[in-house]
């Protein structure tokens, strides 16, 4: 069917098109030719070299902030029936650990009586230990129908966190494979991004009104694997409860392995006001492939002085030491962290025996 257009309408339309074209050209003139790419700035030889070596004179502002950092580790609080909470928190405190978190699968496996909840809160207070987080299992963008089940798991964790007066839960955006720790080739596709955003919208909608922060841990194997993606995720979900559970080492790849001071500056700058807590690990590149391996805190590529300085500028900072093998290693890690903090004047809560 042919549509008849009057002369007046034709000219009006032409004028509008011309205005639109003129506006578009004005906008185009103000916009860089190519969209800005995420990543650290070029150093030199970008036309033939990957930008893997740091520039000289990277700014390292080691001025301590006012925050006193509480340390926690993977000695989780469990809800195992019959737990002696007084002893549990006493031993944490004696070991220099002044905060703790729980793993979701274990924590949600038993409904605690109110009396036990009261007992936990009383013992936390008595030993000056902060229970702050439920660290969630699962994969909220897993192939259906698992995605919905895991979203329900996160919603349950948020309700459990409210019951315990925690500040947050922690999860990942996940993988298109069932196991979130396995990188799927399409994890960076539009489909994966939209599944991630929608999953978090579902979770936020189901828990509307809650004060529990929903912290997302950026991880290399998932779409959210850099601070720019983390920020954009929050914007797309449109809920201020979306925060970052920051694990810098989870975002490291060959291009940043030797540029950690810059990655720290960029990340803390971009994510200002949205870092819920921080994981403390370290790593080295010790293989021919970009093979990164975990290393003792303070001995690898992570710029721990700068890291601790940034953390001390966050309100009520908590740092979670993980991925070590034994109680002895956790104590060693803590000794290094405390020594480095003391060197630059950052305060760590409590003392280590």
């Amino acid at each position: 069917m042919t549509k008849n257009i009057s002369r007046r309408k034709f000219f009006a339309g032409a004028a509008a098109s011309g205005f639109a074209a003129a506006s578009a050209s004005t906008i185009a003139a103000q916009t860089p030719a190519a969209p800005k790419r995420v990543g650290l700035p070029d150093v030199w030889g970008q036309d033939f070299l990957y930008q893997w070596s740091p520039p000289e004179h990277v700014k390292r502002d080691l001025t301590p902030g006012p925050g006193v950092i509480r340390l926690s580790n993977s000695q989780d609080i469990t809800n195992k029936e019959g737990t002696d909470y007084a002893n549990l928190f006493k031993s944490m405190r004696e070991g220099g650990w002044t905060a703790c978190e729980a793993a979701s699968a274990a924590w949600l496996s038993r409904k605690m009586p109110d009396s036990e909840v009261r007992e936990i809160k009383a013992q936390l207070k008595a030993h000056d230990v902060v229970f702050y987080n439920i660290h969630c299992a699962g994969n909220i963008i897993a192939p259906d129908p698992d995605a919905e089940l895991w979203q329900r798991h996160i919603i349950d964790a948020i309700h459990a966190a409210e019951e315990m007066d925690l500040r947050m839960i922690l999860t990942h955006t996940g993988s298109m494979y069932p196991n979130r720790n396995t990188a799927h080739p399409l994890n960076w596709s539009r489909q994966a991004w939209e599944r991630s955003v929608n999953a978090l919208k579902n979770i936020c909608k189901a828990t509307a009104g809650s004060k529990i922060k929903v912290a997302i841990e950026p991880v290399n194997t998932e779409a959210i694997n850099n601070p720019w993606a983390m920020r954009r995720l929050r914007e797309d979900v449109g809920d201020e409860r979306i925060m970052c559970g920051l694990d810098i080492t989870n975002m490291v790849f060959a291009g940043t392995a030797f540029r950690m001071s810059e990655l720290l500056n960029t990340t803390f700058d971009l994510l200002e006001g949205m870092i819920a807590y921080i994981h403390a690990k370290d790593f080295v590149w010790d293989g021919m492939l970009p093979g990164l391996d975990w290393a003792m805190n303070g001995t690898g590529n992570m710029d721990y002085e700068l890291f601790l300085a940034h953390i001390s500028r966050i309100k009520d900072p908590i740092m979670y030491v993980e991925f070590l093998n034994s109680a002895e290693e956790y104590q060693q890690a803590q000794r290094n962290i405390r020594a480095i903090a003391a060197k630059i004047g950052v305060k760590i809560y409590g003392t280590q025996a």
Partner: protein
């Protein structure tokens, strides 16, 4: 004639005097590590906590050769596969770049009687923000000069490690390239 011999003796004495003075603590020579007599050396570069081909920190059993060149004021150490180290034997702190070329180490080397003491303070992995590592090496020779023992203490806030390495005197390998063995000091 007698006078000529006397003068020659004095001249020889003049030449040999510095060497004689150093004799008790001259570590010059080529030394091969005695693996059986040595403690397992920790991984000096990385402290790995999970996985990794070098996990465990043990050094491979391949021969480790030190070539040491010493004069009255300095010591140069070349180890197979390692950076050449130069030390000034004056007991004063000297700053040098770490192997990463990103940070500095402060090194003091001092001959104390029959021993050489080398103390180094540096960021553990030579990276910005690392925990401070203090290394103390005490070198000593056996009375017959055929065995070199290096007692090393590595001090981090997290832990202290002490281990002994024993080296036997050997013949230098002329002309070998560093990555395959060592370069004999000139």
């Amino acid at each position: 004639m007698k006078k000529q011999f006397g003068m020659l003796g004095i001249a020889l004495g003049m030449i040999c005097l510095p060497a004689m003075a150093l004799a008790a603590s001259d570590f010059s020579g080529s030394w091969v590590r005695n693996n059986a007599g040595s403690d397992p050396a920790p991984n000096a570069m990385y402290w790995l906590t999970r996985g990794g081909a070098t996990m465990g920190g043990g050094r491979a059993a391949a021969d480790v050769v030190l070539n040491v060149h010493q004069d009255a004021r300095s010591l140069q150490v070349t180890e197979s596969g390692s950076v050449v180290r130069n030390y000034t034997l004056d007991g004063n702190p000297h700053t040098r770049a770490t192997d990463t070329r990103m940070e500095n180490a402060v090194v003091t080397a001092n001959l104390q009687g029959n021993t050489l003491v080398i103390e180094t303070t540096q960021p553990f992995g030579g990276m910005p923000g690392n925990a401070t590592l203090k290394i103390k090496e005490v070198w000593s020779l056996s009375p017959d000069g055929k065995t070199l023992t290096i007692l090393t203490t590595r001090d981090l806030p997290a832990r202290q490690q002490t281990y002994k390495q024993v080296y036997n005197r050997t013949e230098p390998t002329q002309g070998a390239i560093c990555s395959a063995g060592c370069v004999v000091p000139h």
